[in-house]
């Protein structure tokens, strides 16, 4: 869900970074987002923006923060992926007469996607873990529910213990799934 938005956004960002002086803007965006704590970003959007712009509901704020955060990291992954596609591919495509756009769409990007896949998977897993932070602004998700329950019945240890187990299951399961997908994707693309 969140990941989908994130990746879509990031792809566009990454592509832009290749070609124009928009590159500078993208770099600034990525560096700023990556060098400041996610928590601060969440707070800024949820508490800070209302003073100047609009007050966004908790869910939207959290979603926005995570999306922007994820996009910045995914952008880096895509950039590395694009660079990793060997230059020979570029030359081969051009020499058969493809335009820049066609070359990007059919030759470069699919390979970059396959190369980036593991790193994107990692980012997804991290995103799941980071989603716990949005509990602090009241967005309902696993962490928030755990807090809620534990404050209500003081059985903190069991509740947080259960939350720990849930997260572990989700994260490890996700990782396992990603490994399997990774292997299938790589098997097809070994050039």
């Amino acid at each position: 869900m969140l990941a989908g938005l994130v990746i879509g956004l990031a792809l566009a960002l990454a592509s832009q970074a290749r070609w124009r002086l928009v590159r500078g803007l993208v770099t600034v965006y990525v560096e700023v987002v990556r060098n400041t704590p996610l928590l601060i970003q969440i707070f800024f959007i949820y508490f800070g923006l209302p003073l100047v712009l609009v007050k966004l509901p908790a869910f939207v704020s959290g979603l926005l923060a995570l999306t922007l955060y994820g996009a910045a990291y995914n952008c880096e992954v895509f950039r590395a992926g694009l660079e990793a596609v060997s230059h020979g591919q570029h030359e081969a495509a051009r020499s058969t007469g493809l335009t820049a756009w066609q070359e990007a769409r059919y030759v470069i990007v699919p390979q970059a996607l396959r190369i980036s896949f593991p790193a994107l998977g990692n980012n997804l897993v991290s995103l799941v873990k980071n989603s716990s932070l949005v509990s602090v602004i009241g967005m309902v998700e696993l962490m928030f529910v755990a807090n809620d329950i534990s404050f209500n019945n003081f059985r903190s240890f069991e509740v947080y213990g259960a939350a720990v187990v849930y997260y572990m299951v989700i994260v490890l399961g996700l990782s396992r799934l990603l490994s399997v997908m990774e292997r299938r994707v790589l098997a097809k693309s070994v050039a």
Binding site: F44, F47, G48, L51, V52, Y69, S126, K129, S135, Y160
Partner: protein, 227 residues
């Protein structure tokens, strides 16, 4: 927008910075030490130890740091263990740092070509001798850039400690906002402060990576990882 509130609150915020750095350095020392131990055990050729460490490291890494902090601070008291906030945060972050640093160590050691180990063994060096003289010295250079990356993430994650009440930069900010209500300017200012510190470290990591010119695979941890 009232920007004047930023310089006015600066002294208090700087106290927060100091606290943040204190927490960071503490965790850095303990986390690195523990992580080094875990890392070496993780690559140990004894299968039982390796499996045990893998389980431990993967387990710790799969739990969000915030949850770890909550678990230690709120959950443990039910068992009779009540720790002060600073210690709870430091403990959670130490575990986190140890697990991630262990992975960095593993990545660096595994990136050394296996032939190095074979050459050492074939001249009669034991496992420990080979590790000490041949493998680890080569791995150290590869560990440095991702390690600096981890430090960056560490500093960012100290902000989480504010949620359980530890005094550091984020908490200082929140308290200032409670007094002045200028959340926009203050969060922006604090973001800038974190940015300065982290960006410096990130740049250092990049310079290191270029200087040490990794001849092997680039271990993609550090600011490339969304922790």
């Amino acid at each position: 927008m009232q920007w004047s509130v930023v310089p006015a609150s600066l002294p208090y915020l700087l106290q927060g910075v100091r606290a943040t750095l204190l927490l960071s350095i503490t965790v850095l020392v303990t986390g690195t030490a523990l992580g080094a131990l875990w890392g070496m055990l993780r690559v140990c050729p004894v299968p039982a130890i390796q499996r045990g460490m893998t389980a431990l490291i993967e387990g710790v890494r799969s739990i969000p740091l915030l949850l770890q902090m909550f678990f230690i601070f709120f959950g443990l008291p039910a068992l009779g263990i009540q720790m002060p906030v600073f210690l709870s945060a430091a403990l959670a972050m130490t575990l986190w740092m140890a697990a991630n640093f262990a992975e960095v160590i593993r990545g660096a050691i595994e990136s050394i070509p296996h032939g190095q180990f074979e050459a050492a063994s074939s001249t009669g060096l034991t496992y420990v001798q080979a590790m000490r003289s041949v493998i680890v010295p080569q791995a150290l250079r590869r560990m440095l850039p991702p390690f600096v990356g981890l430090c960056t993430i560490l500093i960012k994650d100290t902000s989480l400690a504010s949620i359980i009440g530890v005094f550091e930069l984020t908490r200082a900010t929140q308290e200032t906002i409670e007094r002045t209500f200028r959340s926009f300017e203050l969060y922006l200012a604090v973001a800038a402060m974190y940015f300065v510190i982290c960006f410096a470290l990130t740049s250092l990591s990049r310079i290191l990576e270029r200087r040490l010119g990794s001849p092997g695979r680039v271990v993609l941890v550090g600011p490339a990882v969304m922790e």
